[in-house]
Structures are given as structure tokens and as C-alpha cells.
Amino acid sequence: MDIQTLTYLFVGGSFALYIGIAIWSRAGSTKDFYVAGGGVSPVANGAATAADWMSAASFISMAGIIAYAGYDASVYLMGWTGGYVLLAMLLAPYLRKFGKFTVPDFIGDRYYSNVARTVAVICVIFVSFTYVAGQMRGTGIVFARFLEVDVNVGVVIGMAIVFFYAVLGGMKGITYTQVAQYCVLIFAFLVPAVFLSIMMTGHVFPQTGFGATVLDAAGNDSGVYLLQKLDQVVTDLGFTQYTEGSKSTIDVFFIAAALMCGTAGLPHVIVRFFTVPRVKDARISAGWALFFIALLYTSAPAVGAFARLNLIDTVNETQYTELPDWFYNWENSGLIGWVDKNGDGAVQMRAGAPFDGKPNFAGSRDEAKGNQGERVVTNAPTDNASEVYIDRDIIVLANPEIGNLPAWVIALVAAGGVAAALSTAAGLLLVISSAISHDLLKKTIKPDITEKQELLAARGAAVVAICIAGYFGINPPGFVAQVVAFAFGLAAASFFPVILMGIFYKRMNKEGAIAGMLVGLTFTFCYIVYFKFVSPDLNTAEHWWLGVSPEGIGTLGMVLNFAVAFAVSRVTAPPPEHIQHIVEDIRIPRGAGEAHAH
């Protein structure tokens, strides 16, 4: 069977599985819809959290980012895993004991204020939509590359599938499909990783192959460590050393903190811990989630290093006409572009961008062909020796081809990419729909609606959210790539401190919480908007405040939030007696009922 047929088979088969699960796990009540009935086992919840958490970006882009950035990318690896330690110890068990449906639920009740609840709802919607647009686009791109349908058709197919199980099954449907999606995506990521590791180092585990010696072309041990060789090769070509960083320590520190606290504060991650039966399950479930995530996150840096070395070996100084087929295929997709600056017909990989921005082509290969048969790039070339643009997203998608792996592995990677994008999109859409139907409609605007009406509203809100997300997927706002900093920065500057103080500081009152949230949010929002949109040309280290980039500013916003909240709470009245009792109650595991609406 050819790759095309296999891919249809794999992707189609996985879709049939998701739909089957959706029909089996329909939601019958709001409790099913919001928190899967509160009866999910900690292991299943861990796998679902992992799938929810690992987006198209984790699956497709991360190894590629590491391959290009080396040590500098470590901040993503630590930042996106360290947050689970905070979740397990500081948030998840207490929120589970609290036993409500959503994050705004907790903030609204703990701070006895609908203003606080509404601020939280707005943050939830903003953070989640930022995230979900990218997921829909990711689905479209995977479809376009592997199934050769139009990107927009891919987005619509993705919408239809998510529609089916999110609207029908709510959290219950999503949870069990996410477990299946986790299995698909981790298998799809690890198979090529193991193949590559064996091929390059003879080690089965990429995690140890990463630190082993490389095999030469004949398969004998060369006696040189992989990372040593990589450092050597990249410095020879003028890049910075792979294992050394180039960012300032303070910036790395702030970015890591923003990612960790942001992770712990992201609503779609927090709500997952409302679905387990007991407080102790919430604690260990965070461990399972991190275990499942770590399988991918400890392999990704190995894949990045293997791919970088492999790529340089294969492409650098090779005559264009003698390159392997995948190079031409990805050039056709527009993700590779080559300009023969020195006219020698060979591809030179060197430090620096070969030309400004992503490649624009004069036409298809048939319409505009260069001297060697390459597609003609119209961008203004830079004056360095670097000749080739290789989009970092290719690394994972093309790895099976670069490593000459069998066709079914390529089909598997396609199914994995789609699974990663769909699982995250569904989790986010659910958070958006419950924020609207539960927090806004039921708790704020119209408290007297029946459960049946609320369930209907939740499904309606999910439909609307899917359509908006689909619209953004088809017409991506130009800034999607730049606003990832938003989601984490805002979550770190708003939710994380407010929830933390709600649990650990009994004296915190509504005045303090609202003031803290608003200051943290406004500060972070303005800083990011200023450097990303208002004056992007000033977005360099010397203009940053304290040398902190927009990616790391959420940490400063969080510190401000804490400081303001503390100060304001000291000069205003303490929270009422019954609130202090709630806080005492959530600190003790016993008596955790099932999640309910009160």
C-alpha cells in the first residue's frame, strides 16, 4: 500500500474510534457534561490531561524548536513540566475538595463576588480562544500535508469531529476520547524516535541514546559522543554551541517561571482534576499526567538533537540535484526554500537567516525554476553565507522520511498530529462553553434555569465556540504565533496567584483578589501588547524592563498581583466568617463529595 492509502486508513480509523467512544459516553446531566460525572480514574485522567495539555505545538513544533535552539529551548521543557509539581501540591487537591465545576466557580465563591467571577470568565474565554485558534490551524496543516486536501477543508473536517464528541459527550466524551488520543499520539511520537535512536546510536531509548556515542556509516561505534559531535559540527558552521545558551540568565529564569505558573493556572488543565473521585486521586493523577507527558518531553530533546545532526549530515554541502526526495516535497509545500548565493549548486547551511522572513516563491516549480531546478525564492537575500530556510515544524513531520522509515510510520505520525491538535481543541472548547453556560448564565444572569436548560445552553455554547474556533482556523489572525505568550503570561498573572491565595491565605478578601487580578492582568497585557503589536521593532533586550522579554513578563505580573492583593487585603475588611470556614474545609481531604453545583 502506498503512503497515501495508509494515511487515510490510519487517520480514518482513529476518527472512527473517537466517534465510537463519543456515542458510548454521551453526557446525560450537567455533571457529566462539566466534570464527566466526577468518576474518572486517576490514571485515565492523567492520560486525558496529557493529551489535553500536549497540543499540536508540542507534537509538531517542540522537537524542531529544540533542534534549532539547543540549550535555549530547555526553558520550554522545564517550564511545561514543572507546572505539574505546583498543580499537585498547591492547587489540584484543594480545588477538588471544593468540588465545583469550573475555575470561575471557585473564584466567584471564594471571593463572594460576581465581579471576581466575571473577571475570571473573561480571562478564561480570552486565554482559551487564543489557544484554540492555533489548534484548528494545526489540524488543517496536518490534513493538507498528508491527505492532500485543502487546509480549509482540513479545518472543517476537524471541526466536525470535535463537534461530534464535545457537543454530544461533554467532558465525559472528551475525557475518554482524550485517553485514546493520547495513545495514538504517544505511539506516533515514540516510534520514529526509537527508530532514529537505534539508527544513530544503537540505543533503544532515545533518552539514553541522546547521551551515547554515534555510530558511523558502517554501524560501528565511532567513539564520539553525539552531543560533542553536534557541538563541533554546529560551531564549525558558525552557529552557537548546541549545549550552551545564548539568552540572558534572568530572562530564562522569568520565562521558566511564567510557563510553570501559567501551566498551573490554565483553566483547561485545572478542570481536569475536578473529574476524579477523591482528593488523593487528584494528587496522584497529576503524577500520572506528568508521567505521560514526560514520555514525550524527555524524548523530544533527543529527537531534536538526532534530527539536527542528521539534517546537517544529509543536506549541508550536498549538490541540490542529489538531495533526497523529501527535500523537494517540503520545498513544494513551501516549508523549505533555497537560494544558491555562491552559485556552486550545493546547499550551504550556515548561521543566520538566508533571506528575510518565510520564503515567498515566484510560482510553482513548473512555473519558475532556478538553475538547479529549485523553486525560485523572491525574498531579498541576506549578505551571510546561509543559503537554506528549513521550517522547524518539518523536523517531526519529516523525521520518518529523513530517517528512511517505513511508510506506515509516516501515516502514524499524521494520525498522531491530528490527535494532538483535536484533543487540545476539545478540552479548550469545553472550558469556554462551561464558562458561558455555567458561570455566566446559571451563576450570574439567570440563576433559575433548570438543569436541562443549562445542559442545552452548554451544548449550544460549545457549538458556537467550535464555529468561532473554526473561523479563526480558516482565517488565522496574523498574530496567532505571537500570542502564545499571552495565554501563559495571563494565566500566571491572574489565575495562579488568586487561586493560590484563596487556598493558602485565609485573610485574603474580595477587594484584594480583584485588585490583584486586575493589576496583574493589565500590566502583563499592556507589556505584551506594547512589545508585540505597538512597537515590535523595540522588542529587544535593551528596551525590556529589567531585561525580561514579553514571554517572561507574566512572572513579574504575578509578583505584582501578589503584592497588590496582599496590600489591599490588609487595609480592607477580612472575608466573612463562612468564607473562612470554606477555606478551612478545603484544606482537609475528608468529606470530599462528588463535584456538584450546590
Partner: protein, 85 residues
């Protein structure tokens, strides 16, 4: 009595959290970021040690920390008689 018990349980929990978070901070921000250049002088198999902490070691330690915390808390819940079921 009941209130005192709850207070003692909470204090013990806070001590555990602080201990584990100190380790959490040390492996990620300490070994992976602040001391990375010093640790990179040490070679462990094919890894520079600081680089290994940043891309592998910290994640393993995070995982162990959560498992240990969940385990310690289960014991603490029983000791102070606040466990579920």
C-alpha cells in the same frame, strides 16, 4: 481538639510542600538555569551535567517529587485521621 488537629495537619502539609518545592527549585532553576555553566564543566556519560538537568534530569525529579508528595500525604491523612473513605 478537632480544630487543633486540623491546624497541626495543615502545618505538617506546609512543611512537606516547602521541602519538596525547595528541591523543585534547586533542580530546575538551580541546576538547569542559574548554575548551568558551572555544572557544564562536569561530564556525565555523553552529557554536560547542567545541560542534562535542563533537558532531562529536572523532568525526572519533578515526577519523583509528585509521587513522593502524593505518598507522604496519604500517610499524613491517615496519621491525622482526615483521610477519605
Amino acid at each position: 481538639m478537632k480544630e487543633e488537629n486540623a491546624r497541626a495537619y495543615w502545618a505538617a502539609n506546609l512543611r512537606l510542600i516547602l521541602t519538596y518545592l525547595a528541591i523543585w527549585f534547586a533542580v530546575s532553576y538551580g541546576c538547569g538555569i542559574l548554575l548551568v555553566d558551572e555544572l557544564n564543566q562536569i561530564q556525565m556519560f555523553g552529557f554536560k551535567l547542567g545541560f542534562w538537568f535542563a533537558q532531562q534530569g529536572a523532568i525526572y525529579v519533578f515526577l519523583v517529587l509528585i509521587i513522593m508528595y502524593a505518598h507522604s500525604m496519604n500517610k499524613l491523612d491517615r496519621k491525622f485521621d482526615v483521610h477519605e473513605d
